[in-house]
Amino acid sequence: MVATRASSFFIFFCFSASFLFSILALPSAVSYLRPEWVAMVVIYWVIKSPAKVGVVVAWSSGLVLDILEGNLLGVNALSLAVVAYLVLIMHQRIKLFPLIQQSFTVFLVVGIHLMIGHLIRNVVGDSVSGMAYLFPAFTSAVIWPVLYLFIDKVTLKLR
């Protein structure tokens, strides 16, 4: 797709927006389906500008998310760092994938992100039973093409 040189400011803005979206109040019926905005923004920017956004940025954003959500410090930090690492390894391939295939990759990667969080929470004894915690992986995959095209468009406009 388009090789854009996004400004650091815009990247920062994307992350802030994703934090906001991930703590926005939702009706409780829908809240099981809340997409993992921060994870998706991490994936997007690691694909688009791996020089700027890497494991460390993902880790710090995870830390911020932990504080906002009142998690144990480090849960999201770890899982988002893993997300960034996985995507970083294959970013050159993902970049060339068609959107559908990208969605599928996002599904897997966000799933891994959720599972790591779930695992850690189980280990420290704050467990949740059932598979409902994986729903956001579906919604994230569904939202991904829209988000991807949207940020692409905004970056183009800003250039």
Binding site: W59, G70, V128
Partner: protein
């Protein structure tokens, strides 16, 4: 990557076992409070539009209804003053410690948990308003939860319906004690380990017993909605409906702890419970 992974594992471990990180959490949490405010903005806008578009007649009706309600409540309060005084005298006769009326701070809800598996809310009072971890939080009809984390201008309140929450309660009718466990649903609490023979019936009001030392005694917590006796099970299964509107309240009351009382209470708790075993007789 390895460094980051190790660092996060250390963080998780330290945070789950010790409280060294509370300072960090407090500082960052305070810095991020504007984010919480922002996240509540859509709701604020909806409320504002709602307010602006309400007709004058509607407002007048509301005011009238509230005036009527105030009258009713004031009548109750008149009696209450008398009963409090009488209660105080009776307690003096029994040599029990006096009951101190709790002081409360009103706080506004500024955010709810984004994670459906965790029940907490953010409220608009923090350390700058002398809120401390462990204070009980009420709404107009009952207990909501307790403060678990305080930043400078906001604090996090764990609801009684959260998976990890438990309140010591007693049946208002006869003083039978139990523990009400949250189970991740706003609609009911479960009573843990209730013997089959315990005198708990449908419709009983459960009030906080104050036994854990965390919640002040006497606030309504829940109403029993079902009691099931299964001969195959060692305990009866009792479920109760929380009195407070856990997912609806906009304004909450944070009960202030009397520091001097708590210090004194710890000291004489032992002797007192030995001489007078009235539940809720502390404080």
């Amino acid at each position: 990557m390895l460094l980051v992974a190790v660092l996060s594992c250390v963080l998780i471990f330290v945070d789950s076992r010790f409280d060294y990180l509370d300072k960090v959490r407090h500082a960052l949490g305070s810095a991020l409070t504007p984010m919480q405010w922002l996240s509540n903005l859509p709701r604020g806008v909806v409320d504002w539009v709602d307010e602006v578009t309400t007709s004058r007649e509607q407002l007048q009706e509301d005011v009238d209804a509230m005036k009527a309600r105030t009258l009713v409540l004031e009548r109750k309060a008149q009696k209450f003053a008398f009963i409090m005084a009488e209660n105080g005298r009776l307690r003096e006769l029994l040599n029990a410690s006096g009951v101190v009326d709790d002081t409360v701070k009103v706080a506004e809800l500024i955010g709810v948990s984004p994670d459906p598996f965790k029940h907490y809310v953010m409220v608009s009072k923090g350390r700058s308003d002398q809120i401390m971890v462990g204070q009980a939080v009420l709404d107009s009809s009952g207990l909501i939860g307790q403060v678990i984390e305080v930043s400078e201008f906001a604090s996090r309140v764990l609801l009684i319906s959260d998976n990890s929450h438990a309140v010591p309660v007693q049946v208002n009718r006869n003083g039978v004690r139990a523990i009400a466990l949250g189970n991740g649903s706003y609609d009911f609490l479960e009573l843990a380990n209730v013997p089959d023979t315990a005198d708990i019936k449908e419709g009983d009001l459960l009030v906080s017993s104050g036994l854990g030392g965390r919640f002040p005694p006497g606030y309504p917590v829940a109403e029993v909605i079902s009691v099931q006796h299964d001969p195959g099970q060692p305990f009866a299964k009792v479920t109760a409906l929380p009195k407070a509107q856990l997912n609806r309240s906009r304004l909450v009351l944070i009960v202030a702890k009397h520091l001097s009382d708590i210090d004194g209470q710890d000291a004489d708790n032992g002797e007192e419970s030995a001489s007078i075993p009235t539940p809720g007789g502390t404080e």
